[in-house]
């Protein structure tokens, strides 16, 4: 069964600093990979996705993620965070020919220090 691990439950960074959120997955083949963001009390907003091709993916709000097959990772990065980036971030995987469900990591809560 596929699984997703986000090792960091909570991360605090200063405004303007760089950010990297980690995501590791377990799956027999290359899955579809996603990063979603959730503000308090809100639904999930898609930041970016990887299906195939270029392993460096650009998303909205200045985020990018890199798929590394050898490490089974799909880490999310941003060069300079803004106070509005404070939220919970979820990594998710889906099976390319599977049951169309997403399996989510436990999430990483991001706090921004002014």
């Amino acid at each position: 069964a596929q699984s997703v691990t986000q090792p960091d439950i909570h991360i605090t960074v200063s405004e303007g600093a760089s950010l990297e959120l980690r995501c590791n997955y377990s799956y027999g083949a290359t899955p579809y990979l996603f990063w979603y963001v959730q503000s308090p009390g809100q639904g999930l907003q898609l930041l970016l996705k990887y299906f195939s091709g270029d392993t460096l993916v650009q998303g909205i709000k200045g985020f990018e993620a890199e798929f590394k097959r050898s490490q089974s990772s799909f880490n999310l990065r941003k060069p300079s965070v803004h106070w509005s980036d404070a939220a919970e971030y979820f990594c998710a995987v889906g099976e390319p020919q599977g049951a169309q469900k997403l399996v989510f990591g436990q999430g990483t809560r991001l706090t921004i220090n002014p």
Binding site: L46, A99, Q100, L102, G105
Partner: protein, 112 residues
Amino acid sequence: EAGVTQSPTHLIKTRGQQATLRCSPISGHTSVYWYQQALGLGLQFLLWYDEGEERNRGNFPPRFSGRQFPNYSSELNVNALELEDSALYLCASSRGQWDTQYFGPGTRLTVL
């Protein structure tokens, strides 16, 4: 383009009652998914509907059920509510076979 909409925003029920949650997908999307986000349990897949049929369900008891209507909107029913059913229920939609899932704002269900 309007996003996924869900109603109601909040729902308060007592143990043993039934809850009905509704979801309208993005126009042109035929697949609807339901997820439960409970405190301490994370986001878990509940149900997937496509073209009016239930295609897959997660590891939830049969008292969680639903349906998809001809206009592709969907309803999630939870019978015999238990305290642990308190959660944010998120609906997502996609164009169909493996397109990106777009999420609605959720319905917060509280069981007292």
